[in-house]
């Protein structure tokens, strides 16, 4: 039996790595992948608490998170294709139309 704390700390580490990747990476697609990494970290915490409390609610929430992530990936990648087509770059620093 693995203590719940271990899972939650691993989840926090993965979330932190996801945040760092989000700040550090310069490719739009990789930035998008780091969002998926953060969602995965949250899912791990959900399942860990679901197991610790002996209730299944957390696992149902994970299913919903996965569904929303799939929808988000479809729309987000459509937007990325649009960016690549209109600006001929995938670098987030080159996408600065809203910058002053």
């Amino acid at each position: 039996m693995v203590p719940t704390n271990y899972y939650v700390i691993l989840s926090a580490i993965l979330f932190g790595l996801g945040v760092f990747a989000f700040i550090f990476k310069r490719n739009v697609i990789t930035v998008f992948m780091s969002i998926e990494l953060m969602l995965n970290a949250v899912n791990l915490a959900f399942v860990a608490f679901s197991q610790a409390l002996g209730k299944l609610d957390g696992q149902v929430f994970v299913l919903f998170v996965i569904v929303v992530a799939a929808a988000e990936a479809a729309v987000g990648l459509g937007i990325i294709i649009l960016i690549a087509r209109n600006r001929q770059t995938l670098n987030v620093e080159r996408v600065d139309l809203l910058k002053l």
Binding site: V2, F24, L53, V60, N91
Partner: protein
């Protein structure tokens, strides 16, 4: 060290190594493959926790569908090695510091409150697939139907966004 703990540490190390590799790889394809390693390791952790249905969905939907979509888009756009600029060199140390502070804060907070969860915990394998199906189709039936609508909207949105302008 008991056996589940050993499996946990192996899978946790795999997940963390995959996440670090996602950050260090310069080519998006390599980052995507690292993310698949993380997802498979997390599926193993779900199995370890007795959440076999979530583990299967994790591999099929995340490792399968979503990552195939990512790899497809990377290849479609012919994404090359990302370039480093002065701004990204600045984002490295600052972001590392901030992300480490965030992870430490979250871990400390939850580890403190985790003690109460531990006290309330009862062990015992949940029959998860049956239980999940009952919850999804009884307690969460309206949110479940809403997600199907969300998927429909996402399909429409992706199609409209990615279609070529009529010339």
């Amino acid at each position: 060290m008991t056996e589940p703990l050993l499996v946990f540490f192996i899978l946790a190390a795999l997940a963390v190594v995959g996440a670090v590799s996602l950050i260090l790889q310069r080519h998006p394809i390599h980052s995507a493959l690292s993310l698949i390693v993380v997802m498979v390791a997390l599926a193993g952790l779900y199995l370890l926790m007795g959440a076999e249905f979530v583990a299967a969905v994790q591999i099929i939907v995340y490792g399968g569908a979503i990552m195939v979509l990512f790899v497809f888009v990377i290849m479609l756009l012919n994404a090359g090695v990302e370039e480093r600029t002065s701004l990204s060199k600045m984002a490295g140390p600052a972001g590392l510091l901030l992300a480490m502070a965030l992870a430490a804060f979250v871990a400390a907070t939850i580890a403190k409150s985790g003690a109460s969860v531990q006290a309330a915990a009862q062990t015992g394998a949940l029959s998860s697939t049956k239980g999940i199906s009952e919850m999804v189709f009884k307690d969460f039936v309206y949110p479940f139907e809403l997600t199907s609508f969300l998927i429909l909207v996402a399909i429409l949105g992706a199609t409209v966004l990615a279609q070529r302008e009529k010339s």
